[in-house]
């Protein structure tokens, strides 16, 4: 212990001469910790590779391969149009139901897929988590981002419909980019909570399919958000962030009323969920390797 002091000085000097070496100090920590997003940035290549792996593996050894990404949304649109549009007569009053459901299903597909992958992502990567260090946040983030390829393909389906129905193209469609970002943030916000909870409570994986179904009916996927009326009810409805987002998509593509207060409430909800999710994740992260 007597030698401790000169050793430390020595180390400091060495550090200056070898700037390329990272000095990592790990201290036992309790309670909340900082997000350390810098570390995340340092490992961005790993993030890229994990996204790439997810995409690559998803359609390997599937006869139809990437065609599934077109087939599934098409089948969904057909079913929705038949059940809700024709059987339940949502088709009335000049509503173009196939397009309405297609536009609703587009962000919803991204969200639902991301939620399913994200919630099981940590548990599915147990072998990585128990053997190598990297910022754990990369795993759920990668599982959300890997849905973007499917999303891109699905949006081709939607835009074919847009052209088919001769919907006029407008500058509003540029809003789809920030809106897509919002879907990603929403998916990540909910996914972070679920993935971290799933490490400790495997109940989560049983809850997720149920959650996704319920959430879909609570969002204007199969119907128009204009069916929800009354100011209070609309604000409560907006607490579901996907409600505002999907309405935003409809507005950007199909026109109509811009999403108002619904949207503001949704954005606030997303931010609250995302920030709290990030901190919760960071807090739980320390025990992942021991608990998983």
């Amino acid at each position: 212990m007597v030698q401790a002091k000169p050793e430390i000085k020595n180390m400091a000097r060495e550090n200056n001469s070898k700037m390329d070496l990272d000095v990592i100090t790990i201290r036992s920590m309790h309670g909340w910790s900082s997000l350390n997003l810098r570390d995340l940035w340092k490992y961005r290549e790993l993030l890229y590779f994990l996204v790439w792996r997810d995409i690559k593996v998803r359609y390997k050894q599937a006869v139809l391969g990437i065609a599934w990404a077109i087939l599934l949304p098409v089948v969904n649109i057909v079913i929705f149009t038949f059940v809700f549009g024709i059987l339940l007569k949502q088709n009335q009053g000049g509503i173009n139901y196939p397009l309405l459901s297609a536009v609703g299903l587009l962000p919803w597909g991204l969200f639902a897929g991301a939620l399913q992958r994200c919630s099981s992502s940590l548990v599915g990567n147990t072998n990585l988590i128990t053997k190598v260090y990297f910022p754990r946040l990369i795993i759920p983030v990668a599982s959300v981002l890997s849905g973007l390829v499917d999303f891109g393909i699905s949006s081709l389906v939607v835009f074919s419909l847009v052209l088919y129905y001769r919907v006029p193209l407008s500058w509003n469609m540029l809003w789809l980019l920030p809106l897509t970002l919002l879907v990603v943030m929403t998916s990540l916000a909910v996914g972070l909570w679920l993935s971290a909870l799933n490490v400790q409570y495997r109940d989560v994986q049983h809850i997720v399919p149920f959650l996704v179904t319920t959430w879909m009916y609570a969002s204007p996927v199969a119907y128009s958000a204009s069916l929800v009326t009354g100011r209070i009810l609309r604000i409560v409805y907006g607490l579901n962030p996907m409600a505002g987002v999907i309405q935003g998509f409809r507005w950007a593509i199909m026109g109509g009323d811009p999403p108002g207060e619904l949207f503001v409430v949704s954005i606030i909800m997303v931010l609250v969920l995302l920030v709290s999710g990030l901190f919760y994740f960071r807090r739980m992260e320390r025990t992942f390797a021991d608990m998983i």
Binding site: M11, V23, I26, R27, S28, E45, L128, V199, R202, D203
Partner: protein, 425 residues
């Protein structure tokens, strides 16, 4: 020389609950909360620190490693070696204390981590490299080298699920070997693969050490420790008991430390929770007069016995003894139900206390030090318990064949063979 690794007062506590029930389900937590709301609340508010349901896997460990040193780490099963390595490779965080690492830590036990069976060899090299912390440019520049080292050139664009296990391992190792970390961690105990592969691991470790990098080497193989390390630390029940030049540490470990009593007891906290319903009690070595001994004569038979409890009836249980030299060469493996009649008779073992006992015939082992491991498993169903290095003992070859020549006799066994000399005209 500067310090590359500095470990200060590191302790690691595990909740036994975490081991027992790998995870708690929500319903259990809810039932728990309903049955004792206050207690649950308090537990959530302030986790117990001195509770009986926690164990300390590491306790107040401090040491530092100067740049370029090869440091050996030895200790029995459950002494905390793996936990220490996990903390050093940042997989888990210490409960108390701190550590400082200068440079990238890579562990050879991560060989093949993150390999995806559906991806090709080429794709896996990049993926695995990224997982182990290499930059893409770095991997690209070493790609050819990695491929030729792995000897799988022809199959580099084939999914690795079609690889033989040897090819798979070679490719995985090739990536890890080209990492050039500042700090390399080798856990030989966990190293998979055949002897050839393990030799390659050790060879790589030697290379790394010669380049002046820092290596931490965990092994049960004392001759490897002596050959490759200058200094060694010994862990015992989570504490660092000795740091000394390797020959001295190995001496301590083999003699004074433990395993010299001819009897090994398992304390409750040494038995992993996953062993249930199997509970090891003791492993003993007895001479031909049934006395417990730590040194046997090669010319006399001796008995190895394992005492254990079964909490519930177990089907297909077999108790195995592994005899190894301290250089980790296997001498034999034997199970209590090797005999077909015994196998029939003990298909089911009721709950209760048992001793499985075997007699090793005389004139079998050469003189030297041996290590006895024990294993309890149901074939292809489950491994309940394993301790590869449960008991050490010496064999004295006084009276063995050929002792009238005072010379070192090579070989693990020293059998008394029937010789005849025929004189031909």
């Amino acid at each position: 020389m500067s310090t590359v690794i500095r470990v200060e007062h590191v302790s690691k506590r595990f909740r036994i609950g975490l081991v027992h029930q790998r995870y708690q389900t929500l319903s259990e937590k809810i039932t728990d909360a309903l049955s004792a709301p206050l207690r649950t609340f308090r537990r959530i508010q302030m986790p117990k620190t001195d509770a009986e349901d926690t164990i300390w896997a590491l306790r107040d460990i401090s040491f530092d490693v100067p740049e370029g040193q090869v440091l050996g780490i030895i200790g029995r099963n459950g002494a905390g070696k793996s936990t220490l390595l996990k903390i050093l490779s940042r997989i888990t965080e210490p409960t108390e204390g701190s550590l400082t690492l200068r440079g990238r830590v890579v562990s050879l036990l991560e060989v093949g981590t993150g390999f995806h069976p559906e991806l090709t060899g080429r794709e896996n090299i990049f993926l695995n490299g990224a997982i182990l912390g290499m930059k893409q440019a770095e991997i690209a520049s070493k790609f050819d080298e990695i491929v030729s080292f792995s000897e799988v050139e022809q199959f580099i664009d084939t999914p690795v699920k079609r690889y033989s296990s040897g090819m798979y391992l070679r490719l995985a190792f090739a990536v890890a070997a080209h990492l050039e970390p500042e700090i390399l961690v080798v856990d030989e105990v966990l190293a998979v693969g055949d002897a050839e592969f393990q030799k390659k691991c050790l060879g790589k470790m030697g290379d790394v050490a010669r380049q002046g990098r820092t290596v931490l080497f965990v092994s049960h193989n004392m001759s490897a420790i002596l050959r490759l390390t200058q200094e060694t630390i010994i862990l015992e029940k989570g504490r660092l008991v000795l740091r000394a030049p390797s020959p001295q540490a190995v001496d301590y470990y083999l003699s004074a430390g433990h395993a010299s009593s001819g009897e090994r007891f398992w304390e409750e906290d040494e038995v992993p929770a996953g062993a249930a319903p199997f509970r090891p009690v003791a492993l003993r070595l007895r001479d031909s007069k049934h006395k417990i001994v730590d040194s046997i004569r090669s010319t006399e038979p001796f008995v190895i016995e394992m005492e254990y409890c079964l909490d519930v009836p177990v089907t297909g249980l077999r108790i195995g003894f592994y005899l190894n030299t301290t250089r980790a060469e296997s001498v034999f493996t034997s199970f209590d139900t090797d005999d077909p009649d015994m196998f029939e008779k003990y298909t089911n073992r009721q709950a209760g206390r048992y001793i499985s006992r075997c007699t090793v015939p005389p004139d079998m082992l050469n003189s030297g030090r041996y290590s006895l491991g024990v294993n309890a498993s149901s074939f292809q169903i489950r491994r309940y318990f394993q301790d590869e290095d449960a008991l050490g003992f010496n064999v004295d070859s006084t009276g063995a064949p050929g002792m009238h020549w005072p010379e070192q006799r090579d070989g693990v066994v020293r059998p008394r063979l029937r010789w005849s000399i025929e004189s031909l005209k």
